[in-house]
């Protein structure tokens, strides 16, 4: 190990000091005393420097002056450098903190930092405004003691997805969206947004669609009625039979679109979960199969009921789901195709599948087909009928049942549409009947 210069010089200094003492001792006699005295002086000086260092570390401001460069001044200089660095770092952090505080103060969204017990550690001014929080009293308070809505309490226990919308505790008729984001070791950031305007806008839109659909129904019924009468009229000139038939078909299509629009609007404005009524899936599917088998020029239909489990949900909505999926499969599977309808258990849940050997869907369009009025190939699908709303209805109805929609398809080969229902929606025969009673 090589010693740094200042240590070498210090050792030499000590050696010289002792050598001098020895010489003087030999000259004046009693070298032992001289050596001891020299060592004592050296130790005293060492102790003094240590004392100065101690005081300096304890917070002394002034750096002691030393006559020569060497070990001790070097030590002091290093300590001073360390302290200056720490001071500067602290200043930088303070500045950063101040800037962060100012910027979060300017945010219009509320931010709240919660610990693992959901106690409020910090919140920005916007959060204080939106939730009525007071910095003087509410730090350390559990957030669900102040924002008490049952939906929020449940969301806190299991934060998932996009957050949750709850009525505002401060403004009448206001709505807030709250989203919890975990970070760090155990902390959560809650982001609160005022979504009153958006919700009102949605509500206005839905009301408009619902009203418009209802209003359009009556005129259509009148038109359809007259067209039916004309079609049945024996005195109708032959040339008109074709056009009248076409008009009837178009009127029926319009009625179908309105019916689906009304259904879709109802689904969108309904509560987010469907009720849990007993629905006999097997029976429903058997009846539906008979209906579809009656259509001419359709593919071969097979029904595979691998379980007699029932569902807990909304009967009419589930009927829509199954009907729409089977209807699509039948419509897009020309002869000699096959459509297979399956109802089976899958783990704790259950799956409803419609597998066809029809024209399939191009891969890039699969994510979009549940959009309203979306057509894969406008020419072909319009000709084969349908309202364009079937899959949108299926998607919303399944969401209300906590179920997932799976779509697989290969163009020219066929498609598979599956609805995966969670365990809590599945009712096994014996227990279900007991539940109904």
């Amino acid at each position: 190990m090589t010693l740094p210069n200042r240590w070498v010089s210090q050792l030499l200094h000590l050696a010289a000091w002792l050598a001098a003492a020895l010489l003087l001792g030999l000259w004046f006699g009693r070298p032992g005393w001289w050596l001891t005295g020299a060592l004592a002086l050296y130790t005293a000086r060492l102790l003094r420097n240590l004392y100065l260092l101690d005081r300096f570390l304890a917070g002394g401001k002034r750096v002691p002056l030393f006559a020569t460069r060497g070990l001790w001044p070097e030590l002091f200089a290093r300590v001073e450098r360390l302290r200056t660095k720490a001071r500067n770092r602290k200043k930088r952090y303070h500045k950063l903190l101040r800037e962060v505080r100012e910027s979060t103060g300017a945010l219009s969204d509320g931010g709240i930092i919660l610990n693992a017990e959901h106690e409020i550690l910090w919140f920005n001014p916007a959060a204080g405004r939106l939730l009525g929080l007071d910095a003087a009293t509410d730090l350390g308070q559990r957030i669900d003691n102040l924002l008490r809505h049952p939906d929020f309490v449940a969301y806190l226990a299991e934060p998932s997805g996009e957050g949750i919308v709850v009525p505002s505790p401060r403004t009448e008729g206001g709505w807030l969206s709250v989203q919890l984001i975990p970070y760090g070791k155990d902390q959560r950031l809650a982001i609160v947004r005022d979504v009153t305007r958006e919700r009102q806008g949605e509500r206005t839109r839905r009301d408009f669609v619902a009203n418009a659909s209802h209003e359009l129904r009556s005129p259509l019924t009148v038109i359809g009625g007259y067209l039916d009468a004309l079609a049945d009229d024996p005195e109708l000139p032959g040339a008109w039979h074709g056009p009248i038939g076409e008009m009837r078909r178009q009127a029926e299509r319009m009625t179908g679109i309105l019916r689906d629009l009304i259904e879709l609007t109802r689904l969108e404005s309904a509560e987010s979960t469907a009720p849990a009524e007993f629905v006999d899936v097997a029976g429903m599917l058997r009846a539906m199969l008979k209906e579809f088998e009656a259509t001419p020029n359709g593919p071969d239909l097979t029904l595979k009921l691998e379980t007699d489990a029932a569902l807990l949900g909304h009967e009419q909505e589930l009927h829509s789901v199954f009907y729409n999926l089977i209807s699509n499969a039948v419509r897009f599977t020309p002869r000699p195709g096959r459509v297979e309808i399956v109802w089976r258990r899958a783990g704790e849940g259950a799956v409803f599948e419609v597998i066809d050997t029809g024209i399939g869907i191009p891969a890039e369009q699969i994510p979009r087909i549940t959009e309203r009025f979306y057509r894969v190939d406008t020419g072909r699908s319009r000709a084969t009928g349908g309202t364009g709303l079937g899959l949108a209805i299926v998607k919303h109805a399944l969401q209300r049942h906590g179920a997932a929609l799976e779509i697989e398809s290969r163009e020219g080969q066929g498609s598979r549409f599956a609805c995966r229902f969670p365990a809590e929606r599945v009712a096994l025969r014996g227990s279900a009947e007991r539940a109904v009673v």
Binding site: D144, N145, H149
Partner: protein, 244 residues
Amino acid sequence: MEVEDLGHHISRRFNEDLEHVRSSVLAMGGLVEEQLDRAMQALADGDSELGLKVAEDDVKVNRMEVSINDECSRILATRAPTASDLRLVIAIIKMITDLERIGDEAEKIGVLAARLASMERPTTNYREVRNLARHVKNMLRGALDAFARLDAKAALAVVKADEVVDEEYEAIYRQGITFMMEDPRQISRVMDTTWMARALERIGDHAKNICEYVIFMVHGKDIRYTGVEHMEQEIERRRQEGAS
């Protein structure tokens, strides 16, 4: 008792128990607040389905009362709390009874709203009742917030607000009698509206009770039944004592 006293215990476990039961009570409060909200929405929208749903959901409120009661009994039996902790547990046991009664009143309002939904809507669209409901909602929220923050001053403000609620109820009642005399065909609807106002007024009373328990918890002395002015003086006196 200061707010911070909630932390001075020998047993850390006990502290968690108290915090937990406090949160349970506030969760029950939140549920009851939502019941009231939905019942009034059923009236405003003429939504009989929602009104009946509120009535159905009252079982949840009752269940919470039972479970919190059990929790409190357990704490009393196993921890034998004293002083401010004992006041807290006693106040909670009383509070949940009032909350449960508020739930029952909300259930009544839900049923009435369902009935009124099928009747002809008056031109005022139940404005006075909805106004009364707004005041009562604020009282209930104020009471629960005061409990959460252990804020005696806020609790007192809610107690005072009950006067306004009582006056509004009286006004609706008298107006109702006038309507019934003018047009006997409206008697059924007016009576249902009056019962609804009565249920709201009762909720206001229960919220006032909750505030009185909060004051009891914070200041130790039971100053209920002594009148609002006396309460105000007491609270101010104790506050100044605490500050000096």
